[in-house]
Amino acid sequence: MAAPPPATTHGDPAADPALAGEGAETKGERTRRRLLEIAVERFGTKGYRGTSVSEIAREAGLTQAAVYAYFDSKERLFDAAVDADAEAAILAAAEGVATTPAAQLVPMVLVLLVGGLGNHPLAERVLAGKEPDTLPRLVNLPALHQLRTLIADRVRLAQAEGEVRPDVDPDQFADGAEAIILSLLMSITVIGQATETRRQLGVLTIFDAALRPSLLPALD
């Protein structure tokens, strides 16, 4: 177990350096964030195997040993970088749907996530299956859970206003939406499926159908 870097923690020396300060960013937090930024960029470009901890340390102006004070191992650093990049991608998409009607929320989140992946090369690498060992971790990503909460809250709100059918359980719908979003994101990244108009229209229609409070005018 590595010792935390000096100058950063005030209390428990075993605590994560990033959690040491409250309010303003401490020097340790700043260093940690900088390390993550570099790690996202490096791992995103060259992948887990093609990147060494020492090159990340060098770019951050740190020794390799100093990096290990923040992240126990290359694996931990990689996982933290994936989480950070995925979180940034998800937060950007969440901001983009601030005014989207509930019935279009899920397809819109998908569109924004797919469109934003170009800015998140590490998240894209993982989704594209180029880091197969990391894929199962995606299912439990904290940021994905935030997205799920956002969907549940928005559906609940829309339901109270009569915009979503009353027989929807917002939490359960959000659980399903979370799983579906992740799966479509993976398959779209790898296969490019659902990029065809026929499939896009289909996905849009079924999510609208799931939430819309009434039937559409009858078909002829």
Partner: protein
């Protein structure tokens, strides 16, 4: 069983007897069977057309009379394997109530993947160059049509909502099913129970009429 041969015969093949299988069709089917087997076991790169031809008791040159190149053969093999899997799944979900249909299709497809190593390989991302063509597979289009038929019948029986065009619903459901299968294979089935229940509920909501 399967109408694999009918699907696989391209329009530029020499005349086809409407009922009996011609010798050419038989040979073609045999090549495809061998291709599904060889590609499924060793993958695209490690398999040669000559290996497949030999397994089908043909010369390599003779096999090129049926498939222009290795890529075309691979794609036809994937289509045949997917098509087979779809037929098996369709059989197993006969009689399942319409609203349980989609989750049931996914569960049976995941089980059937064990017997379809070529499809499994593709979904697991082990054939990255060929994967982008997946969406063009005729078998998937046929699957979408099967779904649309099932939805039309269920809507007539009042089991699912009738206000949406079945083919549009089917296209959306097909995308979701493919995506979920893909991620189930990629994440090695690590979806939690919460996710699974949520997906079942979401599919039910898509199909059941609003109260």
């Amino acid at each position: 069983m399967t109408d694999l041969a009918t699907i696989a015969v391209p329009s530029d093949q020499p005349e086809v007897d409407a009922t009996a299988e011609t010798k050419g069709e038989r040979t073609r089917r045999r090549i495809l069977e061998m291709a599904v087997d060889c590609f499924g076991r060793r993958g695209y790169r490690a398999t040669s057309v000559s290996q497949i031809a030999r397994a089908a008791s043909l010369t390599q040159a003779a096999s090129y009379a049926y498939f222009d190149n290795k890529e075309a053969l691979f794609r036809a093999a994937v289509d045949a394997d997917v098509s087979d899997l779809i037929d098996e799944v369709s059989d197993r979900v006969q009689g399942v109530p319409a609203r349980d249909l989609i989750p049931s299709v996914i569960v049976h497809a995941v089980i059937a993947l064990d017997d379809h190593p070529l499809t499994h390989r593709v979904l697991a991302g082990q054939e990255p160059d060929e994967v982008p063509r997946l969406t063009e597979l005729p078998a998937l289009r046929r699957f979408s049509d099967l779904l649309a038929d099932a939805l039309t019948e269920a809507a007539e029986r009042g089991e699912v909502r009738g206000d949406l065009r079945p083919e549009v619903l089917a296209a959306g459901l097909e995308s979701l099913i493919l995506g979920l299968l893909f991620s189930a294979v990629q994440t090695r089935g690590s979806a939690s129970e919460r996710h699974q229940l949520g997906v079942v509920e979401a599919f039910d909501l898509m199909l059941r009429p609003p109260v």
